[in-house]
Symmetry: C2
Subunit: 363 residues, 2 copies
Amino acid sequence: MNDFVRQLLTEWRRLNLPSEDETFVVAVSGGADSVSLALALDDLKKRKKLNLRFVVAHFNHNLRGAESEADENFVKDLAVKYDFELALGRGEISEKGNLEQAARAARYDFLTNIAENLHAHAVLTAHTINDQAETFLLNLIRGSGIEGLSGMKPVRNLDAEARGRGDAGINESDEDESISASPHPRASAPPILVRPLLNWAKRSDTEKFCHDGAIEFRYDSMNEDLAFRRVRIRRVLLPLLQDFNPKIIERLAATAALLRDEHDELERLSIQPLNEASKEELKTRDLTNLSPSMRRRILRAWLENRRGDLRRLDLKHLEAIESLIFSRKSGRFVELPDGETIVKTNGMLVFTERKVVKNPPRH
Amino acid sequence: MNDFVRQLLTEWRRLNLPSEDETFVVAVSGGADSVSLALALDDLKKRKKLNLRFVVAHFNHNLRGAESEADENFVKDLAVKYDFELALGRGEISEKGNLEQAARAARYDFLTNIAENLHAHAVLTAHTINDQAETFLLNLIRGSGIEGLSGMKPVRNLDAEARGRGDAGINESDEDESISASPHPRASAPPILVRPLLNWAKRSDTEKFCHDGAIEFRYDSMNEDLAFRRVRIRRVLLPLLQDFNPKIIERLAATAALLRDEHDELERLSIQPLNEASKEELKTRDLTNLSPSMRRRILRAWLENRRGDLRRLDLKHLEAIESLIFSRKSGRFVELPDGETIVKTNGMLVFTERKVVKNPPRH
């Protein structure tokens, strides 16, 4: 058995994923990572190691005209050649706001729908340790807390991903949605998201797998566009870091995994105080007596309760709220990215939703 | 009052440092950071904000010939001009091993001796948030745990620093030596190490302070030598990171401070299980049942008990010991940097000191 295929099977078992009677949706862009994942799974199926139904899913964002069409056709041909069932999606992304985030949200919506319709066990994505290292650096540069630095999880709730929560700076690992894969059929359980390459495969491993098997794959021209921060990190920053440490990709991914463990431990040890966060308003005096770590943990949980999620919140917002808590001046407030405000009144932190001017007030 | 001086006084009070009847040793290399610190303290003394005895201490490592002499003469002149008491030290560094670490150890030995002889309250060093950001990146690139990433502390035990523990990858913040400054006289207490610029001053602030006051300072030619990792980080890596985020220095220092808080919280919450680490040998079955975070915390404490310190241990050693714990094969062992071994025998982890071949066995 090919080394890449064998390692994938080892990880499949380590993650406790089922080996029969289930459906998996494999997200395939056409790049080396996702093509390797799909074909290695196909190999394991043909060897009767995994008796599973694999459905290849491709989403055409329509962002690159003829190139997007060619990607779609490439995945169609791949499905025919290897006898995969195929699900295709298409979307027009409005270019307002963050293009990458919008494209990502549309793609995950599509994948979630397909998986739900097929009663699939999971959506599989081909994120590698390179992606993990890049995500770590993106969050480090932006200024994330320990969750942001703990990067992507190998197994997680798909719903949270579809809502784009994986991109929130202080919320990358969305602690409360961590779940374990189960080998037992989960009749009505929603599909999960699994990244079976994340813990062990480098991008060079997937390229080697394709090369060794004379397997074609597509290059995404966006991966060359230095206008994207992630591309600059991959093309400029990481090569420089490799001059310092040739194993930097593995190191950064290991650091992310390590911080995730530390973060999980903190969550486990601080369940009681977190109940505080369900309150409507927080008493600032209670917060000043806590350790900084616990104070921020409660603030995050409280903000998530009030806002519904932690999107677009960075460490600087938490720091501003902490200043507010310790400030002796009254009438000060902190503005959050979606226009909500946190005001300190009579020793209480009060959350106020954004005032909607053009539309009637929401209730 | 000059802005820099005012901020130093604010930090002095925030750190709860005494303002009268005590002696402080100010480590002055002659660079902008330490010259600014010494002269700002002198200004506060002249304004009667601090009624303290400040002794300038300079250590000549003799590494750069005439340049080292010129640095020493510069600090001598500075002491005369501003009426500082002066302590001078000189050392020959053997160039075996890590030059920077050896120079640092000799310097801290000198500073500790001076401080002890003067019954000083503390040694003051002029580390800035730039130094903190650089330390964070050095440890990130090397592969450190959460302690290494949590960087330097503004107040700590001087003895630990003199022993060079501040350089150990998994031990940068040496948790058990964290102490609080006290404004009360500490008759027989050993001197502490305080970094009164670390939390707020950038290198550009100290350069501006010198420039505004027409104060001369020395450039260290080693700061231009790209053979040193720290210099490459300062001159090559950080400017690139600034293209991503102009506030990257502040961000990295804030991340280090944040991870220190998380780490302190973990230590606080896990005092009970750490008693395990005082045992001679560790039962591997007990360790497999723990969270990864707790397991590594106990392993670190155990290794520190067995070895005396955690010098030269990196994350990769801890990872190897973890593999050993979970391995089903018997007779495997892990070798540590100083030649000690960890063997798994009958379900126990056993620490064996380095075998000394040329000299008689140690007992």
